[in-house]
Symmetry: D2
Subunit: 341 residues, 4 copies
């Protein structure tokens, strides 16, 4: 079978590394270009020794011309603002782009500017960007040339609430999301707050109500429910490498028991290859999803109080970033959706 040539711009961060790792064994993609932040010139298999035998490629500082010349599709695993500087150039050159940053996720540039504290500089391409959550937008992703890959927290939060909102059985003003994330979610950077001994043996909440993923969740859930949704979102940092567990509290607008709500979730996701709805009495744990592209979902209804607690688990680097990006690539390219995953 023919392969497409793909590039990973920003291959040395955690998400970039995971992209390269998965793509290096992908049956339909050939990793043809990788670049790193540092102005160095190393082979990618020297940076990540487990790539030995599977990949032999130089990892240089980013060059737009080299990247365009060598690829059909690029993953931009870059900090926000850098993506929207480069995506237009790739698009103009006829390349497909999957952007892992936040630059094309929010349709409203004012919201972007409020949460990211910087002007949006590519209003031209923004309307063409498709929010890359296949469970909601698969048909649009098929035709997209620019996909905005969802954030890690939004993926677990949206997949955990969409079935109830779409069916009109959640009070859309009642959604409270308590999320617990591993440390790779904070990126690979020198920061005293991410020092092993600052994170280990502790748990903390941070950015209450203000996290930049809030408008992304609200935008997606408003779309699903056809009413404005504004969630309460509290992220936490826990001392693990990978994974997000989201515990979601919602009021039911209709009487329903656990089995009934589960039936509705199972129906909503019945054809989804990467969403698994657990049976009653079972809940996902992070260890069941790490190193996979799954989003596992369990839930329980408190009939007396007429509320439900939904628990979702993803790997923040899998379904929360690189895995989902490759799922999007598969859809955009007409490959089997699960290829390589």
């Amino acid at each position: 079978m023919s392969r497409i040539r793909v590039g990973v711009v920003g291959a040395t961060g955690y998400t970039g590394e995971e992209l390269v790792r998965i793509l290096s064994r992908h049956p339909r993609a050939e990793v043809a270009y990788v670049s790193g932040k540092e102005d160095r010139s190393e082979r990618i298999q020297d940076i990540f020794p487990y790539l030995q035998n599977t990949l032999d490629l130089k990892c240089n500082a980013f060059s737009i011309n080299e990247a365009i010349g060598k690829t059909d599709l690029v993953f931009l695993s870059l900090p926000h603002t850098l993506s929207m500087q480069n995506a237009p150039l790739f698009l103009k050159a006829g390349k497909k782009v999957i952007d892992i940053s936040a630059d094309y996720r929010l349709q409203d540039t004012k919201t972007y500017e409020k949460f990211y504290k910087t002007p949006h500089t590519d209003a031209e391409n923004l309307p063409r960007a498709v929010y890359g959550l296949p469970e909601l937008n698969r048909e649009k992703i098929k035709r997209a040339r620019l996909v905005a890959n969802p954030g890690c927290y939004p993926t677990g939060s949206i997949l955990g609430t969409a079935p109830g909102l779409a069916n009109g059985i959640f009070d859309e003003s009642s959604i409270q999301i308590d999320a617990k994330s591993g440390v790779t979610g904070a990126g690979r950077r020198a920061d005293k707050a991410l020092h092993f001994s600052e994170v280990n043996e502790s748990v903390k909440a941070y950015r209450l109500f203000e996290h930049q993923h809030v408008p992304e969740i609200d935008q997606a859930l408003s779309g699903v429910s056809k009413k404005p949704v504004s969630v309460v979102f509290v992220p936490h940092l826990v001392p693990i490498n990978r994974g997000i567990l989201s515990t979601i509290y919602v009021k039911l607008s209709k009487k329903m028991n656990t089995e009934e709500l589960l039936a509705l979730y199972k129906k909503f996701y019945e054809h989804e290859p990467f969403v698994k709805v657990y049976g009653a009495g079972h809940l996902p744990e992070i260890k069941y999803v790490v190193h996979t592209n799954f989003c596992d979902i369990g839930l329980k209804v408190n009939e007396e109080k007429n509320l439900a607690v939904i628990v979702t688990a993803i790997d923040n680097l899998g379904k929360g970033a690189a895995g989902q990006a490759i799922q999007n690539m598969n859809i955009m390219s007409g490959f089997e959706e699960t290829a390589g995953l």
Copy 2:
């Protein structure tokens, strides 16, 4: 200064060990008796080598007569049901008892029997038992002969919500508590589910709505608010040794901003030696409280949604168990409340 003779029944569990560790340096208590579950006879300083130089004591299997003969006050760090078998004997012999188990925490034996699946066998002493949360019951603790030491989850949950409930500014039907606990909270026992590699690199929720600490929280908060309170409580296991972070979501029944709510919390706890209320913009983390008897509290109001998120942090073996038990001993014995802590 004279010292009281104290005993720790169940000294080889995590809470028992922490009791012995703190008591071995307490200025007013002498550890005069320790017993372990196993039918063995070892010196306590051979079981816990760091006690070398501070304690020289045999740790035998429990003997009620020996324990009564050697102590003025005992800590019962036993599984539930074992405590209510032994507490009456100590009380009859004129000894003071601080029970770490759940046996004397719930005033309603039916609730006890529902959540602990076993009959309550000491209805006689139950009415005399004082719930040992000094911040709510200090005066009663002073006069108590039997103190029911609070559970670890209830301590962080109750201290985090009491000020708002006491002042009538929380909607008492809206309280949702998302708690994250370290693994010593599950006790020192052989269990495949507590195997290092089952817990490490994962997070899970468990016992949704059904945890045995729920009625304890409800009982205490109903007392504070003078109205029936029934919380939504979801505990989680995180891969750390010690500590509980509780993230509490409440609706405000009155308009209020962060500073105003903080002022009210600070006033409520202004004379408390072991509760610390953080300033606006700061939140507690588990690392700030481990190996202490503190409960640290921070909060933030979402004015738009008229709700507050309160975050509390305790050491589950400190303020959540052994530390609080020793605080209770200090109060019961007329010692300085912070002695040894």
Copy 3:
């Protein structure tokens, strides 16, 4: 391409799970049979949720007849003694066997009985068993019907010293191995000593000089060096899930610098797909090999003292158990050696 039908007997331990995980994506093998210790009947994808979509199979208690009927080759991931009870039955039925236990690793039954404290009951098949370290025994493995898969510690220890011993440049009486292992190496079992909080935030040495892997290392290295080798071996438990780092101290019997010794190692392993020798100045770390079948090797010579320190890293469940077993299956079956790995 045709596939062979494989079975995993003991699929619910850590090694069994890893075998199933890798085999479920193997291009030439079909997982046709799995069994667990418990007398239960669950689908394997309910026990390990990430298998959803890749495997649909009942995991029952072990039945020799069912296992023989459904498979061409079996992996016995059983405690020692159980393997030698069952292996003869599979062999008699014409099946190939890869035994993960220790039962067929030691050619001398007296040594087996000394270290495993139990009689050896299958002296008949022992001479036919091939020690499954492909880097030393590839040709024999090709023709084997019974492969004794090496232990986790021996794999890292033997691969780290074989090149020097084979070339006669190590003083074979000087080998000291200081190994650090993750906790899955101890197996998935209820044991207070493996409780999360007993292992976390600690490191310990154990079984000095007496570990049951010592005779296995000595046997293999004596074969390589053609002289009796008896190593000093000190294993340690470190709080990680997977991986073994072995730090090996050897005296050189010949003057040599780091580059020269590295050259010799690189030559020894130049055609090996799963051994990677690092350049001077670089050393393997466990994170580079987890979730792979690699053994990474780095070293440094202290010319003044005429000794070398060699550092090897493997994943104890990968090259140290399941990965290597599948590498052996590939070799025995005429598949590409790296297939599925």
Copy 4:
């Protein structure tokens, strides 16, 4: 009892924090001055919330005049070179100095310059500096005005080998030390290599033969054995916050069994309050010493090979840094040696 006024220069690093934590409860010391690296002005109890109730002190940027004015004795918890810039000023002002850096540990400035890559600028005070290992130098410490507090690795390495060397029963050319350290040993600094996810779930060796603590170990052991000692030292980083386990391999120059060697160790340390020698069959683990000032020692002789393996465990911030510094303060000040520890 009167108290001395102490200062901690560099109070916001891990060792500085531990110094302040222990000193804040010390019966004979009053923390009168603390300074931090950052040019900020915060209360120390806001930086380390658990100090609430025990300490009320401003933590400003360092001022030599303020520090001299407020203290009788200072702990310099500074990077090397900064200590030797400031120590002379404190000494001239009549203050006692306990230096936690490496600046006064090596009596030979050439060795210092070789390992620390910088000139030594205080040759004047160097001869007066006493190496602060009480078990070897107690009498000198009593009279010292300048104490060079030992490094963390040297403390565990020296205490583990001194009894055998002093008694002439170790081959002094055979000492190999394999040390495993927690991450606080690397200091509290922003460094990608210390990012939680770079360290977690991994183990690595580093600086083989070249670690700056090697000459410190050699100097101390040469003093003990009266012959030149040059050890092989390989440090490792393990994913724990605190603690060092040192596994030491030595050849015996005299036949001896485990019990005999233990007897010799027990005699050597019989009056030491902070060294614990375990009985045969027992070995120290890091969890037994964290948050203490103990060095625990266990060992086992391999009679066949005529060698011993000695295992020592310390808390790198306790006996390996702050605890030992306070032990030195106690000795220098005529306090009970165990005061506050």
